[in-house]
């Protein structure tokens, strides 16, 4: 036993898969201890806030301010305000004014502005330019001058007694606050989803629930498959015929169709994560049963089983001590695959809207369903659907790696 | 008249390197010669190095088997000095051919027998046309008494014995000078075994091969197939001689024990008491420095465990590895036989 475990951990594939899986598991366990709060709590008003660090504007005014003179601050400010369309329009004007095209670089904000300040004359009408167009350039110029001005912004508050605005502070362009000193800052690495919920917190909770669904589904499927396989394979005869018939019946009906029909008939209200797991487990056992049956049939005729019979052992004793240990490694591998299959099935069901009801627990599949309904994929809000997608891929990948690693240890013929 | 020597081996030593980097000397200073038209049998219990010797004789080594020292000379060419790639191109199949026990599994189930033969021949002579190959295969199959329609069949359509004979016929199609057959018939029924043996004998008779080395632990079979017999124990040769000599007049105590365990359905067998050799062969990771058989030998003496025992040549190609002189050994055996007779008489 010890020897086998040592060998398993010497298999590179298993170790890589195992590390990925354990990392995911650790995050699921540790994360809620650090970031407390409802995983499905709505924290944002609006949909799909992009990933980033959110700093409270109100609190930053109240925070101690520092004066920093940074050369590029103004240029950065203008650069972030000057849209690409405006830049192209400026370029058009400059070319029409006679500036050679190769001297204009619209990506270099500073140079562009310099050139603009030097050449632009609001009164100069260029040939062929409409009046509306001319007004547009004048407005553009005005707003650029506003950006370039060095005047401070005034903060005012309404006096509760008189109702008059009173100046409470001034924010200069060179005023800075330290993010660390702002009272309220929230990091949202994956932004928020369509309901304004923190995607990361939701993701961690969803991964936990999905893993539980996979585990329950896998355990149920393996247990049913193992029991039926052992009975069919060892007892044989009529029992074998009946079980094989039922198994084949399940195998010829596409599992997923069956899954959809069952989920649909259960109804939205009754579909909790546990119910879904049980449903998946009850539809996934046939191939485990078939595989276990085949293994048991080849073991049944081995001499050690015959000798055990001759020693007067009961059927239960023979199955438990002479058959099960021989197929244990195989069953563990089947269990791992069934777990990852359970997670995938849940995701597939949820995308179709047949997953667990949507009010209480998030699952990886549900997260993707929400993102899909609110068209995150069309709007380019990748942070709403990509993280759960990646998590599903990582979990199933790690489990398949572990499975391959185990396979190499238990089937020496596959070792390279 | 001295015959042409086909295969000569001088002091060949090879070893296995195990997964734990331990050395196992499975073939230890083995020397032998096989003349044209003769066959040599190698006997011994499992783990004594006879299959390793067969692999080592081809001169083509791949891990975990490693060449250590010695020479292999096939028809005047010293192949131990050649590059592995040259050996594969110029020696294997054309000079020396090897048939392992499960040779019939070498047939590809998705290929017809003739396609398999084409692959084999084209590996050595890429310019031969399909027609030439087919004619060649057909001719040799006919000579060897195999039906020519086997060529157009798939391996699943053939019985085990037929598959084995097909592979043997294929392996000698390029007329190798030496054929090494390692237990070619032990997985077969007695009747199929007889057919395989007959075919091997025919190969030599019809000139497909010039000499043969035959390996098996079935002594009655060996006695009937080969001209000479060599007994191996723990990687060393312990006895050499003609089949007649080794089977009926063994000198080495181990060979004596082996011959005493022969069981054949013949008159008189029921009166014989089977000789059993207690114990197991020594571990070749760390073999005894002196006589390797000493711990299982009935006649062991203090001197046995002192020095390595050389192979004593007693003339006529006969040799044995024991410190006792030939005469003393014979006396011991004769005395033993007399006591046994007395016992039986008393019963």
């Amino acid at each position: 036993m010890k020897h086998t475990i040592r060998q398993i951990f010497r298999s590179g594939k298993f170790v890589v898969g195992f590390s990925i899986f354990v990392t995911i598991l650790l995050i699921v366990i540790v994360y809620p201890l650090i970031i407390t709060g409802e995983p499905l709590g709505i924290i944002g008003q609006g949909t799909f806030f992009p990933p980033g660090i959110y700093v409270s504007v109100y609190d930053s005014i109240g925070s101690p301010s520092y004066t920093l003179f940074l050369d590029d601050a103004a240029a950065k400010r203008i650069a972030s305000k000057l849209s690409n369309d405006d830049r192209l329009a400026m370029k058009d004007w400059l070319i029409a004014d006679g500036v050679p095209e190769n001297q204009i670089d619209i990506t270099d904000t500073e140079k562009l502005l310099d050139l603009w300040e030097k050449e632009y004359d609001p009164d100069k009408g260029l040939p062929g330019m409409t009046f509306a167009k001319q007004r547009y350039y004048q407005r553009l110029n005005d707003s650029l001058e506003g950006l370039l001005s060095t005047e401070a912004a005034i903060i005012a508050a309404k006096n509760a007694e008189t109702g008059v605005l009173e100046e409470t502070g001034v924010v200069k362009q060179s005023d800075y606050v330290n993010v660390g000193e702002v009272a309220s800052v929230r990091v949202l690495p994956f932004g928020t989803d369509n309901f304004g919920r923190d995607v990361l917190t939701e993701l961690v909770a969803a991964t936990g629930v999905s893993l539980q669904i996979g585990l329950v589904a896998g355990l149920i499927a393996t247990l049913i498959g193992l029991t039926l396989g052992l009975l069919a394979g060892y007892v044989g005869g009529l029992m074998d015929d009946v079980i094989v018939f039922i198994t084949n019946l399940f195998l010829v009906i596409p599992t997923f169709v069956l899954l959809i029909l069952i989920s649909f008939s259960i109804g939205q209200e009754q579909r909790g994560p546990f119910v879904i797991a049980v449903v998946i487990g009850f539809t996934a056992w046939p191939w485990t049963a078939r595989a276990v049956r085949a293994q048991v049939i080849s073991l049944r005729n081995r001499d050690h089983v015959n000798l055990s019979k001759l020693s007067g052992h009961s059927i239960a004793h023979i199955i438990l001590t002479d058959i099960l240990p021989y197929i244990a490694s195989y069953v563990i591998m089947a269990l791992i695959l069934q777990i990852s299959l359970g997670i995938l099935q849940e995701a597939a069901l949820s995308i179709l809207g047949l997953g667990p009801k949507t009010t209480e627990d998030p699952t990886l599949g549900l997260m993707m369903q929400w993102a899909m309904i609110y068209q995150a994929h069309i709007l380019g809000k990748w942070w709403a659907y990509f993280p759960p997608l990646l998590t599903i891929a990582l979990i199933t990948f790690s489990m398949n790696l572990m499975n391959t690693g185990l396979d190499q240890v238990f089937n020496p013929a596959l070792r390279d | 008249m001295s015959k042409v020597v086909m295969l000569e081996v001088k002091g060949l030593t090879t070893k296995y390197i195990t997964r734990f980097q331990e050395d196992v000397y499975a073939v230890d200073h083995v020397s032998l010669t096989v003349e044209e038209g003769r066959s040599l049998g190698i006997a011994g219990e499992s783990g004594c190095g006879k299959s390793t010797l067969a692999l080592s004789l081809m001169g083509y080594y791949f891990p975990p088997l490693h060449y250590m020292s010695g020479e292999i000379i096939i028809d005047g060419r010293t192949i131990t000095e050649m590059e592995p790639d040259d050996i594969r191109r110029e020696i294997l199949g054309t000079e020396i051919a090897y048939i392992p026990q499960a040779a019939m599994n070498a047939l590809n189930p998705t290929q017809k027998v003739i396609d398999f033969i084409e692959d084999v021949i084209q590996a050595h002579d890429p310019y031969k046309t399909k027609k030439e190959i087919y004619d060649l295969a057909r001719k040799s199959f006919e000579v060897l008494g195999l039906p020519a329609d086997v060529l157009q069949k798939y391996p699943v359509e053939l019985s085990g014995g037929m598959k084995q004979r097909t592979v043997i016929a294929t392996s000698v199609i390029l007329s190798p000078k030496v054929l090494i057959a390692d237990e070619p018939s032990s997985a077969l029924d007695v009747t199929s075994q007889k057919m395989v043996i007959k075919m091997l004998k025919n190969l030599m008779e019809y000139g497909f091969i010039k000499s043969m080395i035959f390996i098996t632990h079935e002594l009655p079979l060996l006695y009937n197939v080969t001209d000479d017999i060599m007994v191996m124990y723990a990687g060393q040769i312990v006895e050499k001689g003609t089949a007649q000599e080794v089977v009926f007049d063994p000198l080495h105590p181990y060979a004596k024990g082996l011959m005493g365990s022969i069981i054949v359905p013949e008159k008189g067998l029921r009166e014989v008491e089977l000789a059993a050799i207690p114990g197991v062969p020594p571990n070749l990771k760390n073999p005894p420095a002196a006589c390797r058989f000493a711990e299982r030998c009935k006649y062991v003496r203090a001197e046995c465990e002192a020095n390595p025992v050389p192979l004593h040549y007693v003339g006529g190609g006969r040799a044995y590895r024991c410190i006792l002189p030939e005469k003393e050994l014979r006396d011991i055996y004769a005395k033993e036989a007399r006591t046994r007779e007395v016992h039986e008489h008393a019963r």
């Binding site: 001499d303 019979k309 | 007695v190 007889k194 043996i197 007959k198 082996l258 013949e266 029921r270």
Partner: protein, 270 residues
């Protein structure tokens, strides 16, 4: 055979058919036999002759399609687990492949303890059990102290097969069925194991049913030889009758196909 010998195991019209319809194969075809107490019987046949199927029917591991087995003159009744257990106290087996005869997850002690328990020694003090196991091991020249707490795969094939004989030594059944017990063993260990088996049979007076494909072996050990071909017994009799003066063409062919030492091996008959 003299009439005063008591029948130990006999069968009439014993048949086993596998499969149905077109895939039907008759493995054993209406076989009649009568094995006497204390006799050594060999059943000789090529692979596929049905000898192992017959052995399994005799052991009660598979049910015959037709026919009856009589144990000590009585119709054998193994209809339930309890009766089977009782029957298996009288008949035991040694199988061909020692490597697959052991449960690799159980220690060697468990194999021997099972036998003591089966002989009603479940409540013996531990020291007595060890004494019995040591005795059984020394019968086959093994040392129990060296084997205890070991797993089967730490033994050589020959040692495993000897331990199987030790198992029979502890069980002391009336009938021992040995299915090719030496075919996976080397020629010289074969003599050792055969010797131990014969000692056991002589000492306990048990009936030995020896199943083999090796005519020489059958000739050497048995009192009666049955030759089996395609599920039927084609010839039976004393070894000298069957081997030295075979009546049936099949037996003659089988004997002529075996290589011999003192007689010419005629290769032209193939």
């Amino acid at each position: 055979m003299p009439d005063d010998k008591k029948s130990c195991l006999s069968g009439s019209g014993l048949t086993k058919i596998f499969g149905l319809g077109r895939q039907k194969t008759v493995a054993v075809d209406h076989v009649d036999f009568n094995f006497y107490e204390g006799e050594i019987v060999s059943i000789v046949g090529e692979s596929g002759s049905g000898k192992t199927t017959l052995a399994k029917m005799l052991l009660g591991l598979i049910n015959p399609t037709e026919g009856e087995v009589y144990f000590q003159g009585q119709k054998r009744d193994i209809s339930n687990q309890k009766k089977k257990k009782e029957y298996w106290k009288s008949i035991q087996a040694i199988f061909q492949d020692p490597y697959s005869s052991y449960n690799i997850f159980n220690k060697i002690d468990a194999v021997l303890l099972d036998c003591i328990n089966m002989r009603g020694g479940r409540n013996l003090p531990h020291a007595k059990k060890v004494e019995l196991m040591t005795e059984a091991c020394s019968f086959v020249s093994l040392k129990f102290e060296e084997l205890t707490n070991k797993y089967p795969f730490e033994l050589s094939g020959g040692q495993m097969q000897r331990l199987m004989i030790a198992r029979i030594f502890l069980l002391k059944p009336k009938i021992l069925l040995a299915d090719e017990p030496t075919s996976m063993i080397d020629a010289c260990s074969r003599a050792t194991i055969l010797g131990m088996l014969m000692n056991l049979v002589l000492e306990t007076g048990m009936t030995l049913i020896f199943i083999t494909h090796d005519l020489g072996l059958a000739y050497y050990v048995s009192d009666t030889i049955y030759i089996m071909e395609r599920g039927k017994f084609v010839e039976s009799g004393s070894p000298d009758e069957v081997i030295l003066q075979p009546k049936e063409a099949y037996t003659r062919r089988l004997i002529s196909d075996v290589p011999k030492i003192h007689e010419e091996w005629d290769l032209s008959t193939v």
